[in-house]
Every structure is written in C-alpha cells, then in structure tokens.
C-alpha cells in the first residue's frame, strides 16, 4: 500500500461540495480501495446462494442472470410486504438532509451518494418507477428511474459502503434507518449473485464449522489450550476450559475473532481468568464457536441460520442460561432478533448470577446476559479482587460500538467496568460517543484490506476524536466491546492517531484481577512488563 495517501493528503482530498451533474447523471467509478472483492463461487454454492460465478466489480459485464430485472422487481415487491420499515421508509422521506453529514463515509469521502438520504434514494428511485403511479407517469420528474445495470452497480457500490451503524437513523425525524435500507439492498443484490467474499465466506464457515474462520473443533481445542499455557506463564495457574460438556450452568458464547487474532485473544484470556477467579460453572461449544453474526449484514435468513446454533447448543448441553462476550453485531442480533427468530427459550431459566444472586430480569425472555452486565454486577458486590494499579500504564478511552449503542443502549455498564479496573479513563467528545458514536468503518462485512481506502476515510471521525483525547489527555489505549473493532480499529488508530493501542475491556479486567494462589504477576496478558516491573527485563 505504498501509494496510499498520507492522512493530511487524504484530508485535503475531501470536498463536500457536490458535483455539477445531478446524482442520477453522475456515473460511479470502481477503483481499488472503494469496493470489496466478490464472493467466491464455491462459497456461494455451499450456502445455496444464487448465481455463483467469477466476476469483478471493475468488469463491464457482471454476468447477471438473464431475467435479473424481473428477479429484482419480485424481490422488491416481496420485501415491501414483509418489512413495514422498508415500505414506510420508501414513502415518507422528506429529504430534509439532517442525515447527510452524520455518516462516517460521507464525512471522510464527501461523496454525495454516501449521504444516507441518497443511499436510500438509490432504492427509492426504483420504488417510485415500479410501485407508484406518479413515478410510472412522471418518471424522472418524480424522482423515478428505470432499473438498469448501472443502477445495480450503484447499489453494489453504496450498499457495500455502508456499515449499517444506524447513526443517521438517530437523527432522522422519522427514524428512517439506513441499516434497514442497506439490508434490503443487499438482500436484493444476493438474488442476482452480487455479494462480497468478506461477508459470504464467514457465513459459509459459520454454518459449517460454527465459526467464521473455519476453525474445526480439534483446532479450537488447541487454540484454547495454547491460551491456557500463556495464562499459566503469566499467573502460574493452570486453567482448564470445558468444551461441549453437558450439565453446566452457563453456556459462554463469544465471537471467534477473540480466540484467533490479537488483541482479541487477550480479551478471551481475560474471560477465562475471570471465570476461573469466580469459579463459574460454564462450558463453551465448538458447534457454536461464533457469537458474531455475519448473517446480520447478509440476509435475514442467514442471520437466523447462524444465530440458531446458540439456542440449539444451550438446549443440547442442558445449561440454565447463556453469557455473551464482547461483540457488536452479535449483541444486536441477541437483543433485537434472537428471541423472535429462534425462540422461545423456554428450556432455559431466567439468568441469575450464581455469585451475587442478582436476577437479570432485563433478559428474562432471551436468557442471555452481556458480560459487561455480568462483570459490573460482580464488581458492585465486591466479588472480584482487583488491583487497578496494574493498569496504571494505560490511559484509556472507550469506543462505543455501534450496535450495543444504538440497537441496545449498553452505555454505562462497560464504563462502570473500565472505571473499576483502570485509574485513568477519559471519554472522547460527546458528539462521538454513546448513542452518537462513530463506526470503525469496517463493520457489516467491510473490514477487509482491499477496502482500506474507504475504511480510512470512514475512520476519520472516530480517528479524529481519538486523536483529540490522545493530544489532550495522553490517551494511549482505546477499549471496545466488539471483535470487529478489535481488528479494524488497529489500522485506523495507526493511521489517524498513531501510538494508541486497542484493547477489549476484559483484557484490562484480567490484568487487574487477582486470582487465588497466583504467583506474583510481573507481566500483563500481552506479556509486557506491568508498571513497576519494567526494570527487571
């Protein structure tokens, strides 16, 4: 990526003034960095998605099925009936423009079609032509246009330049949710075989192996054992992790990114040490080794298929309730879709913390508790022995992940945990956190390297807010509760705020956590010296 622009050059290239030609008459250009590679044919065949083939967005011929317009039309009609969101959002936008500068991709690119209102108009213009009388008669005068291959290409570009983060939806006076628009757009694109590999291969892997990386059960056991070795080296204690065992109280589900790549692995070790410290009676599962749901941004059916494994496994293993790790897309599905899609979970019990007796009434139907809720409750009841000073080398800020923020409202729980395990915590400016948080620009399947140009552009608002606290408070660590964040925020921080590292909350919890019978800790989970032990290297 030698020709990649420097941050100041990229910044200078952003121009918010729209082009002279109207948006319907302004052609789009696929260039390296602004689109993700198409799904491989084998992947599509495995998940039974239509039209598997080799193709590229930069090709002139996308090898669409012969009757593709008809397929799209029928799919559009069907979804208008199945989703009131879609039907109402097609009808009521007044184009007030309040959403325009709320999108991270617009802020970082200045491309007017990244204004959420125009992203939706890409569908709305076809809706008017195909489904409204005025659009049929008046055509372009009524903002309607005919579905052509160029329109389809535009859909592919802009529905894969949206991370479904819902920030625009917060500001819309009618709650028009671009995540819904994008989900519909992507479902329509699937019907004619236009999708991206970074979303589809994980979907296929999740279905087959239980996790998006395609890790098979024996390999997962190896990975977990390896982490237990590291934990032993750091703490002197040997931990065993139950896999696929029946008869435990809790099933623990977390995104598989956590046991595959740094720094998620440290977060994962953090969970294991926490469970060891409190003696939690739990098991994990290889069949359900992915909490993160790649179906959320693929299709509603794919979401249901992948999510179904959690309840399946909870039932098979006979647990009482389910604990979920730090993950954004996973928690949107768990909060807003799981019970509807795969419930009722009447074979489980209302979650109750075995240590504090706290009953999680707010999860009485899904029976799934967020680990930040669980840990904050432990801390409140003094069940954890914590030495905050072990994190004194960290000056921490917190990135609210889009989905827990705007599809759940998990805002105070993670902050409470952080403040109890570190001494130096600083929030970013208020327009960039909590419900107003900015996306990492790599969510919804877009966290892939070939998309780096748009990721860095979309990462500008988050990176800039991070830079602000870095300069003002010497922040050197950004915590998050999302596995995608833990992967995508690293290049983002390197680019926009070099020197800031990314961490999960439970990595910091485990660093501060004093285990019974542990040896004197001299290093943190990254095996770097703890504060006060730097000299002994």
């Amino acid at each position: 990526m030698s020709d990649f622009p420097r941050p100041d050059e990229l910044y200078k290239s952003i121009d918010y003034s729209p082009p002279a030609t109207g948006w319907m008459d302004t052609p789009i250009k696929f260039r390296p960095g602004n689109w993700c590679y198409p799904a491989k044919p084998d992947v599509l065949r495995y998940v039974h998605f239509p039209n598997p083939r080799e193709w590229s967005a930069e090709d002139k011929d996308w090898k669409l099925p012969e009757n593709w317009q008809d397929i799209i039309h029928q799919g559009f009609r069907e979804r208008l009936k199945k989703f009131r969101t879609f039907q109402v959002f097609m009808d009521i936008c007044v184009r007030c423009g309040a959403c325009a500068d709320k999108c991270h991709y617009f802020i970082g690119s200045g491309d007017p079609k990244n204004m959420p209102v125009l992203r939706a108009e890409l569908l709305r213009s076809i809706y008017r032509k195909d489904f409204t009388l005025a659009g049929k008669i008046l055509g372009k005068l009524n903002g309607a246009r005919v579905m052509t291959e160029d329109v389809l290409k535009e859909w592919f570009m802009y529905f894969y330049q949206c991370t479904e983060c819902r920030r625009c939806s917060l500001y819309c006076p009618y709650g028009i949710d671009t995540a819904e628009i994008t989900m519909m757009g992507r479902e329509l694109l699937h019907l004619v075989g236009c999708n991206i590999n970074w979303a589809m291969e994980p979907v296929a892997n999740c279905e087959r192996t239980g996790n998006h990386l395609g890790i098979q059960p024996h390999a997962m056991k190896d990975i977990v054992d390896f982490m237990c070795d590291d934990i032993e080296e750091i703490t002197g204690k040997r931990i065993t992790v139950p896999l696929n065992e029946k008869g435990h109280e809790v099933l623990f589900t977390t995104p598989s990114g956590d046991f595959f790549a740094d720094p998620g692995t440290y977060t994962f070790m953090g969970y294991l040490m926490l469970f060891e410290a409190i003696g939690l009676d739990y098991t994990m599962s290889t069949y359900n080794s992915e909490g993160g749901n790649f179906g959320l941004f693929t299709s509603h059916d794919a979401m249901k298929i992948l999510n179904g494994k959690i309840y399946n496994e909870a039932k098979r293993l006979g647990v009482k309730w389910i604990l979920g790790g730090e993950c954004g897309h996973m928690w949107r599905v768990l909060n807003q879709y799981m019970d509807t899609m795969n419930g009722p979970a009447d074979f489980l019990e209302v979650p109750k913390s075995p240590l504090t007796g706290t009953v999680f009434h707010n999860a009485k139907s899904t029976k799934m508790v967020h680990i930040c809720e669980f840990t904050s409750d432990l801390i409140r009841h003094g069940k954890l022995k914590l030495d905050k000073s072990r994190n004194d080398n960290l000056r921490v800020t917190f990135h609210d992940s889009c989905n827990p923020a705007r599809a759940m409202g998990l805002l105070e729980e993670p902050r409470y945990v952080i403040k109890n395990v570190v001494n130096n915590f600083f929030d970013m400016p208020e327009n960039t956190i909590r419900e107003q948080t900015f996306c990492c620009a790599g969510g919804a399947g877009l966290g892939t390297d070939e998309f780096m140009d748009m990721r860095m552009r979309g990462g500008l608002p988050r990176g800039n807010a991070l830079r602000y606290v870095q300069e003002k408070h010497d922040v050197n660590t950004m915590a998050c509760i999302c596995a995608i964040d833990r992967a995508t925020l690293i290049p983002l921080a390197d680019y926009w705020a070099p020197g800031v590292q990314i961490t999960g909350i439970h990595e910091m919890v485990a660093n501060a956590l004093i285990l019974d019978g542990e040896k004197q800790r001299t290093m943190n989970l990254r095996q770097e010296p703890l504060p006060g032990f730097e000299e002994e290297e």
Partner: protein, 347 residues
C-alpha cells in the same frame, strides 16, 4: 432546475382557476366539484396508505436506541426512558416528543472540516426551529379555518383566533401564525435553494409542495389583508359543502377560487407524496416500539421454521473423529471406539 419546474407548475395551477372562473365562469366546478372530489380523494387516499402500511408486517422489533438501556438493576445505572423506552407508556412519551417536539431533529449537528485535520461538530438547531414554527403555524391556521365549517363556531376556535391575533396589529388584525408560516416556509425553501448539499438531494417532489403551500398562504393573506374579501359569502359556500347543500354565492372574489383550487390540489397530492410523513411518523418501527426484546418475545408473522441452523448431529457427523481424538465429548461414539471411553470427566 427542479425548483424552477415546481414554480412553473404552481403558477400554471394558479392560472387554471383564473381562466376557469374568471373567463369561463365555471364557479360550481371550482367552488363545489373540485373541492369535494379533493376531500374524498384525500380521505380515501390517506386511509388507503395507512392500511397499506399497516398490512406490511413488522417482523422484528428494531428501535433505534438513543440512550442508556434499562439496566438489570435500576439503582445501578439510570435508564434514559424517553430515548430508550422499555415499556409501552415510555414509548408513548418518546413518540409524543418525536411528533410534537421533533426530538430527533433537535439532536441535529453540523460536521465541518478544519486544518489539522480536525472534524468539528456544532449544534445546528435552525432546521428544528423553523420546521417546528412552520408545522405549528400550519396547524393553527387549519384549526382557525374550522370557523368556516361550523355554526355556531366552537369556543376553542374563537379562543385560538383571539390568541393568534393577540398582538392586535393592523386592521384586520394580523395573525401571528400567518407571519410565522411565511417565515418558516421561507427558511425551508431558502435552505433548499442556497445550501448546495440540500439542493443536490432536492427533487421536484420537495419543491412542488413548498411552492404550493406558499401559493396557498399568499392567496390567503392577500384575501384577508389586501382584498378584504366577503367572508360571509365564503362561509355560505363552505357551509353548503359540509351540509351537502352546495351553493355558490355570487359575490365571491376570484382570489378565493385560486386559494380553494390550490388547497384542493394539495389535498389531492397529499396521500401520494412525501407529505404522508404526517401519518408515517406514527408507524416508524425504529421509533414506535419499546426496546424490550430481551424481556418480551416479539412474534414474526412470517417466521419460517424451514429456515434453521445446521443441526448439531450433522456437525458431529462431519467432525466426530477429530473431536474424539482431542477428547471433546460427542453424542454418538465412533463406530470402532468403546462407548464413552474418550469423553473426559466434567471439569
């Protein structure tokens, strides 16, 4: 260009009654037939649209949450009940704030880029303010017009009339709502014309209703303050309409027919346009549902049981040998291995 088209449209619409009534003297058509048709189309169209929306399913409960969720222990964290409601009554308050106070628009910010680079966000409440002014004055003006359709005039209409003219300026007294709506419309039109970004997204569908409403307001203002038309004659006509005894008095000013025609066009246009946000705002699933899906199961009417996860048994069949080899418990033993021999004790 879209603005110009819309302006020409509306001017053409003004010409129609000018010619129709002024030259051709089709007073019954413009005074009775067109308005009654418009009302019927408006009501039927509005109802049709609402029914169409209601018949579209709400498969999932997906509110956009704007604050702290209901925590597991209310003493632990404070829930933001109005922006992230978890019960019906809280959701009603969220909707009331949205519909009556434009809560979401109140959040509006403006992002700007500066050297550094620095992305700055400033509060931007002008749109909220003028949108609110426009909608409320529109509402008051419509309510004031009830005096033309009711005999005796209800007390609240007279009260509204009095309050709206409380500044007692001019004769006839100037209604504040008339001044404010012109201000509001001016802002809404002005930002579409001058803000390059808003101009870029604006369609004829956006300018046309603005010019139409401006036309209605200006013709109304002209009648009241300048032409000083015979209101009693107009009331004779309007009362005739609502009592189904249509009658067009002779001494009605041509401006009234223009005003009435533009209103009729607005009513005809309304159900098939973005103006239906009036009804749609109540039906938006990201606003009108509580964030309670971990507590109460929401039902999807088209949930398809045939769509389901890969069954565990299928998974174990594919990986059984590998699982057994590393000591992961399995449900069905390997054909050759003695049953249960490989499964470790519970940890």
């Amino acid at each position: 260009m879209n603005a110009l088209y819309s302006l020409v449209f509306v001017l053409t619409l003004v010409l129609i009654p000018l010619v129709g009534v002024g030259a051709a003297d089709l007073k019954t058509i413009f005074g009775v037939c067109i308005p009654s048709t418009a009302i019927i189309v408006f009501v039927a169209g509005f109802v049709y649209k609402i029914i169409k929306w209601s018949r579209s399913a709400v498969p999932f409960r997906i509110p956009t949450t704007g604050g702290q969720q209901r925590p597991y222990d209310p003493t632990m964290f404070k829930q933001n009940k109005w922006d992230n409601p978890s019960t019906g009554p809280q959701t009603v308050i969220r909707m009331l704030l949205e519909v009556l106070a434009f809560r979401s628009l109140f959040r509006n910010t403006k992002a700007s880029l500066h050297e550094g680079p620095v992305v700055a966000y400033a509060s931007a409440k002008w749109l909220w303010l003028f949108a609110l002014l426009f909608h409320y004055s529109f509402f008051i003006i419509v309510a004031r017009h009830l005096r033309l359709f009711m005999e005796p005039i209800p007390g609240f209409v007279n009260a509204l009339d009095f309050v709206d003219g409380i500044l007692q300026i001019g004769a006839p007294v100037v209604y504040q709502s008339d001044a404010i709506i012109i201000l509001g419309l001016g802002y809404l039109l002005g930002r579409r014309l001058w803000d390059a970004r808003i101009r870029y997204i604006s369609l004829v569908n956006d300018y046309f209703p603005l010019f139409l409403i401006i036309g209605i307001v200006l013709s109304g203002v002209y009648m009241r303050y300048f032409a000083k038309v015979d209101v009693m004659a107009i009331k004779e006509l309007t009362m005739g309409l609502v009592t189904f005894h249509p009658h067009v008095p002779a001494n009605i000013d041509i401006t009234f027919f223009i005003h009435l025609f533009l209103v009729s066009v607005l009513l005809l246009y309304f159900p098939f346009s973005k103006l239906m946000h009036l009804g749609g705002v109540f039906l938006s699933p990201t606003r009108n549902l509580p964030n309670d899906t971990r507590m109460n199961r929401h039902i999807n009417p088209w949930n398809d049981p045939k769509v389901h996860a890969r069954p565990y048994a299928d998974y174990e069949d594919e990986f059984r040998e590998k699982m057994v080899n590393v000591g992961i418990p399995v449900d069905k033993p390997l054909p050759s291995a003695p049953a249960g021999a490989e499964a470790p004790e519970k940890a």
